[in-house]
Amino acid sequence: MLQHYLKQALQMLKENPLVNTISILGTALSIAMILTLVLVFQINNAGYAPESHRSRMLYVYGTEVSCPNNTNRGQMSAEVVRECFYTLQTPEAVSARVRTERPVSLPGKRLFTEYTILYTDTGFWRIFDFRFIKGGPFTGADFESGIPRAVITDEAARRLTGSVDAVGRRIVFENITYVICGVAGQVSKAARHASADIWAPYTSKAGLMEQDASYENMTGRFGVVMLAANRSDFDSIKAELEKQTNAYNTAKQDCKVGFMNNPVTQLDIATGSGAFRKASLKDYLANTGSVVLFLLLIPAINLVGVVLSSVKKRRSEIGLRKAFGATRAVIVRQILAENMVFTGIGALMGLGLSFLLLYLSRSFMLDGEVALTAGMLFKPGLFAAVLFFAFLLNLLSAGLPALHITRLQIVEALNDTNK
């Protein structure tokens, strides 16, 4: 049967090469645009190294400290991290971090090119799966004692020291001399929680632990990432965090720390939630849905015209089949299946084209110039999306013509007189 459909479709392609090429190109373009949106969502949501466990992560980036006369919306202090987060029992791992842009120099040679530096703790290396080229992460002992050791990306190592063999070399940032303990493979900026050029223990920089007495030591520069053992733990982690926060606040005099809509999940972030703003999933679906509908509808209208004219040509053939007892369902199925050959070819081309489109549009579809890796592009979800949208487009474009043609009376169809 399938072979028959294929033969029929190929025959049609030969009969009218230009129009069918156009419809295949139209399908390809439509599928490619939709897949680009799917890919963008996938890059923002799905897990890939070093953020392989995104589905189990919770983020706290926004902090609100309210005192009787003042409210501060920003981030939390090291004390809040220690009292409210490091004490949590439910999460598998907890990591606090401060991100900054600073020039990195060599001992005795002051440089001014800026790098992204992430001050963090040992929990960071448990949450994110980094690939080390040389050496390894700084240790718990380094962190406890505030020893200035740093992990650096291979690219930064090459730029600063001239080689990836940089373990043991010294670099200077924020006026402190660090010894490189590990060189990690490049991390795409799309992994926005983990990515940086250099990672160092935050205890190595006393300034980060400075306390602001006017907010009872609650405000600071820290954000937190937590890894749950299981997604189902999210609620109990939130409950435990609330308990810890309440206990912490009770011990304070006037001020209270809170985390507003945080912690957020990766899905919340991918659908537009930020540190201080909770986006509703409904709005996101409505916005994206309407764009996708547009991307499907306009090509579908084009295709309806083409399919309609090609089924009309075969009116007598269909009349004959009906006369010999083919039911409407059989004929509709046949037309859909034949057309699916074209849609399928278009969808496959669209899949290829979507990678090109994503590459060309990465500067405005993703956050700046991010490196794209196979790990973030090839996910089962992408292929499911290809199939789903190809079927949908096929149904939209061939469904109506198929129904239309099967409504014809057998006699009319055989006579080929209906105009």
């Binding site: 373009l29 006026n175 006393a206 306009i298 090509p299 209208i301 015209g305 500067s363 579809m365």
Partner: protein, 419 residues
């Protein structure tokens, strides 16, 4: 001719209705997007009120006690170090001017608002809130900000007590007149010090894609500098520098390296520099990305119109081969056959006019377009509406071109053969 074509279009209404529906949707969508892009474009090309070419922001920090290079100080200097640093940098031959500001340099996200009331018997003005920028007197020359008559502002500040400079739109909104130099204002609700308006500056836009808002400058002078930059707050000072000639980031890093000791006073030091253009790009990136997305969608729609028209007219050309042949045989020249096809395509487009106009008037009636940045005018309507139809007409002609070529090439005898 037109009547004849209308008859043909009506006779083929079954296929034309799809084409027509597509054109209808696409015209409306293209007009909607053209209008947004037009407003963006008009806003982009209106005057900014300042000039940031060759200007840079130097980033400041203080050496921490644990850092290499820390100078033990008895008490942090109240702004004196900062003024000294400003003077040292200005002495460099490549530097034209240096100014200080507090969350007020162009393209920083500073957003400080103050309630203002008039001083004395001024009854025309009532208490209102305005954005306030804190800048040193050099700011005006450095960023080429002038008063509304085009004169330099700095000389007008001399001899004034606690001077402020108001923007023209603030003068108009607050005092209902532009000539307000010499009048006095103060913070509401406090019997605070009065401030004297020294000059009225031209409108100022936060970035290329927003309208100018009313605001005023308060001057940072030797008398109040410690209010802004006392103690460790000095590291939040914005030190903006205008260079005598253009520098790339690498050249600037070289220059900073060359400046060496000039970039530090006690513990206050410059650690890096970015051009103001760099901050501009960060601030407008959201709008620019949105524009690119809109343009991609528009391109997608137009390409689909092209595909749709080509496909429909190709099929039509095939089914009407005999008619065309007959006409050619009876002496119609190729040109009139060609023109007939172009006209037919354009006619279908212009038949959509009443419906798209109805859509446009509904949109205007509901006031959902951006009228904040650019008031709606007949000109704006004709330009955007005309541009959308021109674009569509262009697409239709391009789409009809291929089928026309095919029809024109056919010899009359061959075409008649199909009869």
């Amino acid at each position: 001719m037109i009547k004849h074509l209308l008859k043909i279009i009506w006779a083929q209404r079954k296929t034309n209705v799809w084409l027509f529906a597509e054109l209808l949707i696409v015209v409306c969508a293209v007009w909607w997007m053209t209008d947004q892009l037009y407003v963006d474009l008009r806003t982009y090309y209106s005057p900014m009120g300042y000039d940031i070419s060759n200007t840079w922001r130097f980033h400041l920090d203080l050496f921490a006690p644990d850092a290499d290079g820390y100078v033990p100080e008895e008490a942090p200097a109240d702004g004196a170090d900062l003024v000294k640093l400003q003077r040292q940098i200005k002495q460099h031959p490549a530097v034209e001017d240096v100014c200080l500001s507090f969350y007020s340099a162009p393209y920083t996200f500073g957003n400080s608002w103050r309630g203002i009331e008039p001083v004395g018997g001024d009854t025309t003005a009532k208490e209102q809130s305005f954005q306030c920028r804190f800048v040193s007197p050099e700011y005006f020359d450095l960023f080429r900000v002038t008063d509304i008559r085009g004169n330099a502002i700095a000389p007008q500040l001399e001899g004034r007590h606690n001077p402020v400079v108001v923007s023209e739109n603030m003068a108009l909104r607050f005092f209902h007149t532009g000539g307000v130099a010499g009048r006095q204002i103060r913070d509401t609700g406090q019997e605070g010090e009065s401030m004297t308006i020294a000059a009225v500056s031209t409108p100022y836009r936060d970035n290329s894609y927003v309208r100018s808002e009313a605001f005023f400058y308060q001057l940072i002078t030797p008398l109040n500098i410690r209010d802004f930059f006392g103690g460790s707050a000095v590291r939040y000072a914005e030190l903006c520098v205008r260079m005598k000639q253009p520098f790339s980031q690498e050249e600037m890093n070289e220059l900073l390296h060359e400046m060496g000791d000039r970039l530090a006073v006690n513990n206050l030091h410059v650690y890096s520099a970015n051009s103001i253009e760099y901050y501009r790009d960060i601030q407008v990136s959201g709008t620019v990305n949105e524009q690119s997305r809109k343009l991609s969608l528009m391109l997608f729609l137009l390409v689909n119109v092209l595909f749709g028209i080509t496909g429909a007219f190709w099929l039509r050309g095939q089914s009407r081969r005999s008619e065309t042949g007959l006409r050619a045989a009876l002496g119609a020249d190729k040109r009139s056959i060609r023109n007939g096809m172009y006209l037919e395509g354009l006619l279908i487009l212009f038949l959509s006019l009443p419906l798209t106009l109805a859509f446009a008037f509904n949109v205007l009636y509901l006031d959902v377009l951006d009228t904040y940045r650019l008031p709606y005018s007949a000109g704006r309507f004709f330009i955007t509406y005309g541009a959308s139809y021109l674009l569509m007409a262009g697409m239709i002609c391009a789409g009809v071109w291929l089928p026309v070529r095919k029809a024109g090439r056919m010899a009359p005898a061959e075409a008649l053969h199909y009869e």
